[in-house]
Every structure is written in C-alpha cells, then in structure tokens.
C-alpha cells in the first residue's frame, strides 16, 4: 500500500502545507475529510463545460447536466449497493437526510405511547430529530447504553426493542469512540417487532464497504464531505415501498406532478424528495469521490485505517496519564479515537497539538448525552483516513508527549 500512498498524497495538495511552521498532520477526518484533486476537477469541469439546471431542460447543456447528475446517482447507488437508483435521494447532508425521515416517515407513523429507540452514543443529528419527534407526538424516547468496553449493549437492545417500538435509529459507527455497531442485527430486531431501522452512516460509508441490502436497513443517511466529496451534498437511502408511502418533505420546483391553485400531486421517486434546484455540482463531485474510493477499494481503505489503529491504539493506551474512550481492542475500532490527558482540558491539548501542526478536534463532538453518560464534559479526538500514515500517528504520539511535558512545567522557563 505504501507506494500507492505516496502517489495518493499528490492528490491532496492541502495536506502539503505548513501550519504553525510544522508540516500539517490532519487528524480531523471525522469532522470532514479532505478532497482529492479528482473531486475538485470534477467540480471545475462541470462548471466549465456542462453547467445548467437539470431535468425539463431541452437544450444541450441541460441534457448534459441531467446526464451527469443521474450518473452520479447511479454511482452512489452502486457504492452502497442499493437495489434501484430511485431509492437514492440527494440531500444536503446526513443531518438533512435524518431530519427528512423524522419529519415525514416519523411524523406519519409515530403516535402517543409509541416508542423510539436510539443509542446513547448518537450524534446530535441522529438524536434531536427523534427526541423532538417524541416530544411532539407524546412518544417515548429510549436509549441503548454501553458495555464496559464502550460497545453497544445488545442485551439491553433486545429488551428495549418491543412491539411498542416504531423506529430504531443507531449510528453504524460512532463519531466519538470509533465503535462499529451491529446494525444488521439491530435492523433484524426492529423488523421482528414491526419497527423500521434507520442507520446513520456518516462515519461508516467513508471508511468501510457498506451494502444497504445486506444490512437490510430501511433508511440510511450519510454525508458527502466526510467521504472526500464536496460540502452541501449527502445521500438518503430508503426502501422504495417506504419512500413511496411517505409524504414529501419540502415543496417546490421539480418535486411535483401537477400543481393547481388549491392542491398538488407529487413526482415519482426520487424527485418527490428533491424539491428545488439541487446541489448539482455537489452530486457530480460526490460521484467523483465515490469513483476515487472505489478505485482504491473500500476494503483496502478499511485495512489501511485498521493498520494505523493497530499501531497507534496500544501506544496511546500505554501512555502515562492518557485515557482512551471506547473499545480498547483495535479490531473493534474505526480510525476515530477519543482521549484525554490527565489534568488537562482537551481544548488546551488541541491548541498545543495545533502548535505542533497536528490538527485534532476537542469538545463534545455533538454527542453531549454520551459525554454526560461517560462523566465527561469534553474529549480530544484524533480521526484518521486513507491519506494518513504511520508517520502521522508517530507525530501525534510525539506531540502528545511534548504537550504533557509543557504543561507539566517542563518548558515553562522558556518565557
């Protein structure tokens, strides 16, 4: 993989820069990934040759733009192995997709007394939409908690998911602890009780092979910008029969059949859910990102990140005064690692690492209920991607060591 990797680095000029006089090590991929030149070029090419509004346009540019846009949809369909392109809806991002499901399917199918089951490790985007739906409907929101090793407690899940449950919504992979959740099993559990399963794939699709048919999820949302695509674009996958039964989410151009003064009918799938001019260039760029990742192969992507975690995680766990949250077993981990240094606030740690050129995130990572559950207010988080190397892991380790020393007054005299 390593000579491939050197070649690959050339695709990401942003990584070849100095930050605070140090060569940048970008470890904030769980927040957003970097985009390869191929994606940027796809955007540029679209804007410089084919740009037009799609559908319903008779002229040549409109035909080309429509073909580009629909080709991108088919790429995304293949990328997650959806059965049909009509089941692949372009959204603004993962948050948009999850809100869509809560506001349409949720609004229509959840009533007072019903239950919605999510997990305590959910990102706010897969938590508040359900929380607010439950409040609006008088339904009950229940949380699956964690085992001691930071994994989802499947026993508790089995008890919580009952015939009262209408929706189960869980992240495929945690954006804090790097845990991969057994969503195929959860979907099966949900189905046994007549509930539907909604997967939050934001931290999974960019990092591992995902097959929505094999997982048998009913809805599955993710963002383009975390998988090397542009910002402002994402995918909501939904099973055809569910999507067809649902009311539209937004109203406007392109999603209609016939509009009369006092009533309207809706377009067929997927257009029913794509109101107004979509992020056409964004879709084209996302298609290019899928091409890029497909060419490398998602199994190779996953293996690469796994190798880094195998190397780094034991070293972090062995570091004095450092606590890693989430599974201790590297095999159960994505490239997302949350940690704290004893007696140091993660904001101070992140600032110190930034001074060394190492970009990590600090905070609650949009998972305040998880933080509360873990008894924390915040953590630092390093998250790896395809273009990160073992050398990056070493830079993180060294920078952490120096941070510890600095705040332990080792270098204070310098002032």
């Amino acid at each position: 993989m390593d000579s491939t990797l050197t070649k690959l680095m050339r695709d990401f000029p942003i990584l070849d820069q100095k930050v605070n006089d140090e060569h940048l090590v970008y470890l904030d991929n769980a927040a957003t990934a970097q985009r390869p030149n191929q994606v940027i070029e796809a955007l540029t090419h679209f804007y410089q040759t084919d740009n037009a509004n799609v559908h319903r346009g008779v002229h040549t540019l409109a035909e080309r733009a429509t073909a580009d846009y629909e080709a991108a949809r088919r790429k995304m369909q293949k990328f997650i192995n959806a059965a049909e392109p009509e089941e692949v809806i372009f959204t603004k991002g993962c948050t948009d997709g999850l809100n869509l499901v809560a506001s349409t399917y949720g609004e229509a199918n959840v009533s007072a007394g019903d239950e919605i089951v999510i997990s305590i490790m959910e990102h706010h985007s897969n938590l508040i939409p359900w929380q607010q739906l439950a409040i609006r409907k008088g339904a009950t929101l229940k949380y699956i908690h964690l085992t001691d090793d930071g994994e989802l407690d499947l026993d508790e899940a089995t008890q919580l998911i009952t015939d009262k449950t209408k929706i189960v919504a869980v992240a495929h992979a945690s954006n804090v602890m790097g845990t991969v959740n057994p969503i195929k099993q959860l979907a099966k559990l949900a189905h046994q009780h007549g509930a539907i399963f909604v997967g939050d794939g934001a931290q999974a699709v960019p990092h591992m092979p995902v097959d929505v048919q094999d997982l048998d999820v009913d809805f599955y949302a993710f963002s383009g910008h975390k998988m090397m695509g542009p910002t402002g674009i994402g995918i909501l996958y939904g099973k055809r029969e569910l999507l067809e039964a649902m009311p539209p989410y937004q109203f406007g151009g392109e999603m209609i059949g016939f509009v009369h003064q006092q009533e309207s009918t809706w377009a067929e799938l997927p257009y029913k859910f794509e109101a107004g001019t979509q992020n056409i260039a964004g879709a084209v760029g996302l298609g290019a990102a899928a091409d890029y990742l497909t060419q490398i192969g998602m199994t190779a992507v996953q293996a690469h990140e796994q190798a880094i975690v195998n190397y780094l995680l034991p070293k972090l766990e062995a570091m004095d005064g450092l606590t890693v949250y989430g599974p201790q077993d590297p095999a159960k981990h994505t490239g997302v690692i949350a940690f704290n240094l004893e007696e140091l606030h993660p904001h101070d740690v992140a600032t110190a690492l930034d001074m060394e050129g190492v970009a990590v995130r600090a905070g609650h990572h949009c998972a305040q209920p998880l933080m509360e559950y873990l008894g924390l207010t915040a953590t630092a988080r390093a998250s790896f991607y395809l273009y990160n190397t073992q050398a990056d892991a070493d830079r993180l380790l060294t920078a952490l060591q120096e941070t510890k020393e600095f705040f332990n007054h080792g270098s204070r005299e310098a002032k």
Binding site: E22, H345, D348, T351, A352, H364, Q368, T403, S411
Partner: protein, 157 residues
C-alpha cells in the same frame, strides 16, 4: 518545535493563575450570582459577587470547570475587579472584550485590567476567545442582573 509558540499563549502568569486560581470559592452571602455555560466545550462558571452599599465589589468568587484559559481568566478577572465600583467593573468588562476582539483601547484602560491584560494575545487563537471571555461575560451579566444562560446566547458586540 512548535511548543515554544505555546509560550505566547500559555504565559507563566496564565499557567500560575490556572494552577492556583485566586478567589476560587463560593460566596454564601453573594448579592449577585450567575451560572454561565459554554456549550462548545461544556465549561461552566458560577460567579458570586457581593456589592456593598456604594455599589462597590466587596467580595467576589467563582467555581466551575474549564480549560486553562477560562480558569486563569476567571482568576485574573476576580483580582482585577475586587474593590471596584459596579460601573468601573462594567467598563473593565467592555475593555476586556474589545481587547480580545482586537479593538484599540487607551493604555490606561488596559492597565486597569492588571494580569488580565496579558490575554490580549488570545486574539491570535480565535477558537479560544470564548474561553477567555466567559468569566467577563459572567461578570457583566451578574452585575446587570441578567438570568443564567449560556455564552452562545450572548450577542457579541
């Protein structure tokens, strides 16, 4: 190594204040109390103030959790405003918040801030400005008797 640059933010005096914060305790007889939170990082400050008959700050104390910057800023703030009149303290809060946004102020005003003036270079760490201002916002809101809240609901001037 980049860590030398850290010294420009984490000056000795800042680390001293955060290691040994001044006035870090609750005041049972406080006339003004407030709790402010910073949702970005979950930090919390509880600020207690005793104003005397002439509206002077006769005592002040804080409790809560936070990063080095927010803890030392709170400590330096309590030092600076102790004994000041309400109006003087409010003026200092304004000076501080202008200072960290990079607005110019007379040296006299900056001197008033005592140790706290050292935080002027937080400006070059934009992501940390809120950490530095939390305590001063709490001061301002407590003196103006505004309700508890979170820092994000404050309008930046």
């Amino acid at each position: 190594m980049g860590l030398e640059k850290l010294n420009s933010l984490y000056r000795e005096v800042i680390l001293d204040h955060s290691d040994h914060p001044h006035h870090k305790h609750a005041l049972p007889d406080a006339t003004h109390k407030i709790t402010l939170k910073n949702p970005t990082c979950g930090d919390v400050i509880n600020l207690d103030i005793e104003l005397d008959n002439q509206d002077h700050i006769s005592d002040i104390g804080f409790t809560g959790d936070g990063c080095t910057i927010s803890q030392s800023s709170a400590s330096m703030m309590t030092d600076a405003v102790m004994g000041k009149s309400k109006d003087e303290a409010l003026h200092m809060a304004k000076t501080f918040s202008d200072m960290v946004m990079g607005k110019k102020h007379p040296q006299k005003d900056l001197d008033e801030l005592q140790d706290a003036a050292i935080l002027s270079n937080i400006m070059t760490f934009p992501a940390r400005i809120k950490c530095a201002t939390l305590a001063w916002w709490a001061l301002q809101r407590a003196l103006l008797k505004q309700p508890d809240g979170d820092i994000d609901s404050e309008k930046e001037e």
